[in-house]
Subunit: 470 residues, 2 copies
Amino acid sequence: MRAPLWAAMAAVLFVGSAVAAPRETRIPQAAIDAAAELRERALASDLGYKITESLTTQVGPRLAGSEADARAVAWAQAKFRELGFDKVWLEPVTFPKWERRSEHAQVLGANAQPLTLTALGGSPAGTVEGEVARFADLAALEAVPAGSLAGKIAFVDFAMPRAKDGAGYGPGGRVRSRGPSAAIRAGASGFLMRSAGTDSHRMPHTGITRFDDGLKPIPSAALSAPDAAQLSRLAALGPTRVRVALDCGWDGEATSHNVIGEIRGKSKPDEVVIIGGHLDSWDLGTGAIDDGAGVGLTMAAAKLIGQSKLRPARTIRVIAFANEEQGLYGGKAYAAKHAADVAKHQIGAESDFGAGRIYAYSSSAPDYAKTADAQIAQALAPLGIEHTPGKGGPGPDISPFAAGGLAWARLAQDGTDYFDYHHTPDDTLDKIDPKALAQNVAAYAVFAYLAASADGDFGSAAKKVTPPEE
Amino acid sequence: MRAPLWAAMAAVLFVGSAVAAPRETRIPQAAIDAAAELRERALASDLGYKITESLTTQVGPRLAGSEADARAVAWAQAKFRELGFDKVWLEPVTFPKWERRSEHAQVLGANAQPLTLTALGGSPAGTVEGEVARFADLAALEAVPAGSLAGKIAFVDFAMPRAKDGAGYGPGGRVRSRGPSAAIRAGASGFLMRSAGTDSHRMPHTGITRFDDGLKPIPSAALSAPDAAQLSRLAALGPTRVRVALDCGWDGEATSHNVIGEIRGKSKPDEVVIIGGHLDSWDLGTGAIDDGAGVGLTMAAAKLIGQSKLRPARTIRVIAFANEEQGLYGGKAYAAKHAADVAKHQIGAESDFGAGRIYAYSSSAPDYAKTADAQIAQALAPLGIEHTPGKGGPGPDISPFAAGGLAWARLAQDGTDYFDYHHTPDDTLDKIDPKALAQNVAAYAVFAYLAASADGDFGSAAKKVTPPEE
């Protein structure tokens, strides 16, 4: 939100100086006091957990475009209403629909045995059989001559490293996104990878892949870590043939919805702080840490803000985004629909990295908002959250809008264990620590409350629009 | 082995007394010295791990009576030979064959979602649909009036407690063995249970069940812990219908084999110390902790004994038992076949409780063998093994023979984590700590070496035979 000319003039008059006062965004003390009360109230509440439990239990897995996804939309709408949000609505999101029907694999021959794998999202159906060509990492696969893997099944056995901030998902995820195309270029008939995960359970990790233009997609799947190790041991003993049978694929278009609920602001209800998570999940688990938690904790944070004695000036808008998993469709749709209103978005933060404790806060606040940014950080400090200016970036679903000019904040979660469960059947409610989730609710509530209460903005401005002269 | 009359007379002459000396089993110092060397050699060896790796990698899952089970028999025979055992042979074991083909379950209706489960061994095939009747434990199910669950699916949601010695498997396993019959008596059309396990992963635990005589078996399966929790939450919200579709069942008889290898004793080769594990596994995992480890570590222990400078007096016989999982068929067959030779069996010990460190030693040694028993315990002490006289009992496969008079020893493994993986897809090689396995090999090697070197016996004697007069 940019300050209009008259406000700047008023400021000049107020400070009684001939030079325009530097614009400074600040949070009033009354709001800071109210946020401290809110923080303690949130820590003592199990609302975030209860909402997450409700979604993951009553809907369970909710692959974008599925019947269960539609039930999740209905659930979110009903939950916002039940929680007393002031306004609840849907915004349609359309995308190609991908389905998983069945998946099997086995080692053939003298060491015959089944393998546990899962199709990568976007993989075509198909049954392929061939000798395994193992590569230690993506670079090794990308280095083989074109056509040299004809009749073979490429297998990248890269073990993603564990990291608190999830940094290992960079190289791990790249195997998934670029490996299939590299395999096709090399002439392979199928693609296998060690799951992009950090666990050692018989749990394959799915996730979206893509195929470069002009390439004919091949069946592509991820093995669980123990199966990848097993296949590597077998391949080391001698030529090893496998059969991979996937029944899955694209099937037309589907329309789901971003589900949006608002707690109305007191004095500037048209300006909004956006928080949220994504409503869809992969089909294997019940989408608890990815991203039932993100939906549950932001809904709870807004609800608790609504119960504060002092309502913030601006509106808190919670967005349960559609189809994050297959390409940020909900986030892109929101950014496109609200592009003209970017300056009315005070700031945004998305929770989509599990349910671990938040350990760091940062934002895109420009210099003139550093005071407010520091005030938020100070209010978060009692939650064990460090201020780390300049670190990180926006959550996935708000990143398209951030690219369009949205100011963003990052409430970084401890993701040490996140990739043990991410995109697996094991992403279930029991993986969430209710106390850690309450800390998340407290952090989002404090952040959103203070940002919504600030005098001044955090720099949201449409990027392609020439800034108005003042 | 009982001392013949002339030996007793010689002892009398030797001690130069008119009163018969009390019989005392003792281990010569030279053997104790050799065992100390053997212990260190075993700790430094990865042979047990390598053998376990070979079995679990090259054969993988090996359900009794399956094609893979036959490959496991061939593997064991070849491995004994490759390791240079002096004698290798097979003893046939025949049993009913049970197969798992497919298994699916789902919640029906407004909260529709898939459930992860696995058929209990021995379950019939069948598709049943009905409202879930949840019980907190077996006693609650057993208490309902006959016929009161008509048209329903009984569900026992008992969470087995974790324990170092596996004590929780008593009540946990009872739900599996007695629950289905209780469900039938109550009129249920299907039986579900929370897996007898201690993990919280999406891993159902299979295991054999049985149906009381005169009852018509019903489809019976175990849910993973997260699925059991989910189903309980759903059932708490209101009537919950599920469909359970199992394709599995008995299919005639199969013959597998106990595979036996021997390291010949120097002076009393006809007398044997038996050690071993079971060769079969459930079909879900690769049978690493249950019981590839038991086979691998006892094979390695015997091989290392064979490499000692001083061979023990008696033979070390390693038995890879057939079909333990479905009813101790290999153990019973061995006991029946060798019943007349029980006194030639110095003592026996089986490893079938995973691959955790051994923390306690005990045996059935009678009073006159307490000295040797204490000598063994002393030689095990540097491995962190406590002497716990009177504790525990024989391993499953030697228990039928122990009932017939075999002296037994127990090398108790730390089973704290055993039931996280037991009978699940997650029973794979990566769950074995090579150092812990080497400690097991050292313990079995020391125990078997010393028992085989003792002057005197440990009390093995056919129980139904009147003891000969001396």
